[in-house]
């Protein structure tokens, strides 16, 4: 690397080093020190505590379900968009990008109107006599999950669309000309070739759900997930040591999940 290149990169690198790398490294380091001694007590305390384990479990459960639902809703939709006519395709692409660029506060808030005690769903259920009393949907893990699916569905659709656009349609045509039914061609060619994309999209949704703050904060009520628990420890309880431990746990989970799923996607990739 010559001096010119270094000079162009240096301002950005320094900025990220001072304002991101150093703070994060120091935060990680701080969790292993207590009263001037090296210790794992910060972590043990958390995992011994049933409350935190429950929060972690809720978070993982909500994230897994969100990811699966997003895959089931997103894959067929993306497939449909990828096969649509040019005009329809650009319209549907625009309609997927719009929510993606819209504030998460706006999008989560819209679900408060729909899921609330006097919300759309409950007034329908009560008015039609399907239920005697309004159901408690808002401020439950279910509400969080619905909000998160809504938040990340466009992301998985757009990711899958990118993969499907790159798919070599000659392969599908070849299979068809050799006598494969449309469904067989889909099952043998299209699906296996797009599965790595589905996993990549899944990673984005899973990590997004795991670390999302706005949606659980608005739709979860008293129900905590790790991100809202981190915020609560930092800002309400002023327990920065605890918040740092949660932060490190979040970083570790994120990296492990991304690493494992990336490896999986690469192994499934027939192109190697």
């Amino acid at each position: 690397m010559n001096k010119r290149v270094l000079l162009l990169l240096l301002p950005g690198l320094l900025f990220l080093a001072v304002f991101m790398l150093v703070p994060i490294t120091l935060t990680i380091a701080s969790t292993f020190v207590q009263d001037g001694k090296l210790t794992l007590e910060g972590y043990l305390y958390f995992f011994r505590d049933g409350y935190f384990n429950r929060i972690l479990l809720t978070t993982l459960r909500v994230s897994v379900v969100t990811t699966l639902v997003c895959m089931v809703l997103g894959y067929p939709a993306a497939y449909y968009i990828s096969r649509a006519s040019a005009r329809k395709k650009s319209l549907l692409l625009a309609l997927s990008i719009f929510p993606l660029l819209t504030s998460p506060v706006v999008r989560s808030f819209s679900w408060m109107i729909i899921l609330g005690k006097k919300g759309l769903i409950n007034s329908f259920l009560v008015n039609t006599g399907l239920t005697a009393k309004p159901l408690d949907i808002l401020y439950t893990p279910t509400a969080m999950m619905i909000g998160l699916v809504h938040l990340f569905l466009p992301l998985i659709i757009i990711t899958l669309l990118g993969v499907m656009e790159n798919l070599d349609h000659e392969l599908v045509r070849a299979a068809r000309s050799l006598g494969a039914s449309p469904f067989a061609a889909f099952r043998k060619i299209t699906f296996p070739l797009t599965v790595p994309g589905l996993i990549i999209g899944g990673i984005l949704v899973f990590v997004g759900s795991l670390t999302a703050y706005t949606t659980p904060a608005l739709l979860g009520g008293k129900e905590r997930v790790v991100s809202t628990f981190l915020y609560q420890n930092a800002m309400t309880l002023n327990d920065w040591q605890a918040a740092s431990v949660i932060a490190v746990i979040m970083i570790v989970i994120t990296f492990v999940v991304v690493g494992l799923m990336n490896a999986w996607a690469n192994r499934l990739n027939p192109k190697g």
């Binding site: 010559n2 290149v5 990169l9 301002p11 950005g12 690198l13 900025f15 990220l16 304002f19 991101m20 703070p23 994060i24 120091l26 935060t27 067929p76 449909y80 549907l92 625009a94 309609l95 990008i97 719009f98 929510p99 993606l100 660029l101 819209t102 504030s103 998460p104 506060v105 706006v106 999008r107 808030f109 819209s110 679900w111 109107i113 729909i114 609330g116 919300g119 759309l120 007034s123 569905l153 466009p154 990711t159 990118g162 993969v163 656009e165 449309p182 469904f183 990590v207 703050y213 706005t214 608005l218 991100s227 981190l230 915020y231 930092a234 918040a243 740092s244 932060a247 979040m250 994120t254």
Partner: protein, 262 residues
């Protein structure tokens, strides 16, 4: 297969109803004349739109949001444009690693980044909250700026630049007179995408509030947790109109290919 096609298009229709229905509902409820959000609304009134302008906290945080997003954008451009140029123009050892470093802020969970920034910028480095807010927003905008600009530099033929230099133009002169004009629309798109990213940010901003300092999304979040009147629905509509307008410009500038590219 015809049957299958119809099923698939119906399925897709339902997916899009799920995706856009809530946004339509929020828009309709913003015209509710009463004090409680209802769907369908009991009449038509613009009074909650008027309320936005009367609650001073909304106007103040809106201004803060705009200023932080614009200043942060400027900072991210100053840091990001040279980096994006170096990463696309030159081949050197460690290039992939450096590329990954510049994109790394998107890998760190936002809420974690926000907390560590609070802990170190404000408490250890002793910066004022506004500075922390600005720096945090610059950090999260940087990857978007670099990614979008690098992708528009990919389509630029650097032979043109070499030609200008062989004719005697200096490097700096060529950059401003040849390279920049050619990727102008990419830069504008990068600015808009980064702006939306920063303007909508909650994860960083939620930690960077102080006396009289907050951003619009945080103000909305706090308001919703305390009141349930149609004001937030009205703001939502205004924000969606703004988003749609910016999205239209982004499409004009570089199409939507950027979004589907990984």
């Amino acid at each position: 297969m015809k049957e299958g096609n119809r099923m698939l298009s119906l399925y897709t229709l339902l997916v899009f109803i799920f995706l856009l229905g809530p946004l339509v509902i929020i828009s309709i409820t913003s015209f509710e004349p009463g004090t409680v959000l209802k769907f369908p609304p009991e009449g038509f009134s613009l009074k909650w739109y008027k309320n936005i302008f009367e609650v001073s906290a909304f106007m103040e945080t809106f201004r803060t949001s705009i200023v932080i997003s614009l200043l942060g954008n400027l900072l991210a451009l100053l840091l990001g444009v040279p980096a994006a140029y170096a990463l696309s123009r030159y081949r050197f050892r460690g290039r992939d690693t450096l590329n990954a470093v510049f994109l790394s802020p998107v890998l760190i969970p936002g809420i974690v980044l926000g907390f560590t920034l609070l802990r170190y910028l404000i408490v250890v480095y002793n910066l004022p909250i506004v500075a922390g807010l600005l720096i945090g927003h610059t950090v999260i905008m940087l990857p978007f700026i670099i990614r979008v600009i690098a992708s528009s530099l990919e389509n630029f033929d650097f032979a043109v630049e070499e030609a200008a230099q062989s004719l005697g133009a200096t490097r700096v002169y060529t950059f401003f007179k040849v390279v920049l004009p050619n990727i102008r629309s990419g830069i504008l798109a990068a600015i808009l995408i980064a702006f939306l990213e920063s303007f909508n940010n909650v994860d960083i901003s939620v930690f960077m509030t102080g006396p009289g300092i907050s951003t619009l999304p945080i103000q909305m979040l706090t308001y919703v947790q305390n009141y349930f009147d149609p004001t937030i629905a009205a703001i939502s509509v205004i924000l969606m109109v703004l988003t749609a307008a910016l999205m239209f410009i982004i499409e004009r500038l570089m199409g939507f290919a950027y979004f589907t590219k990984r």
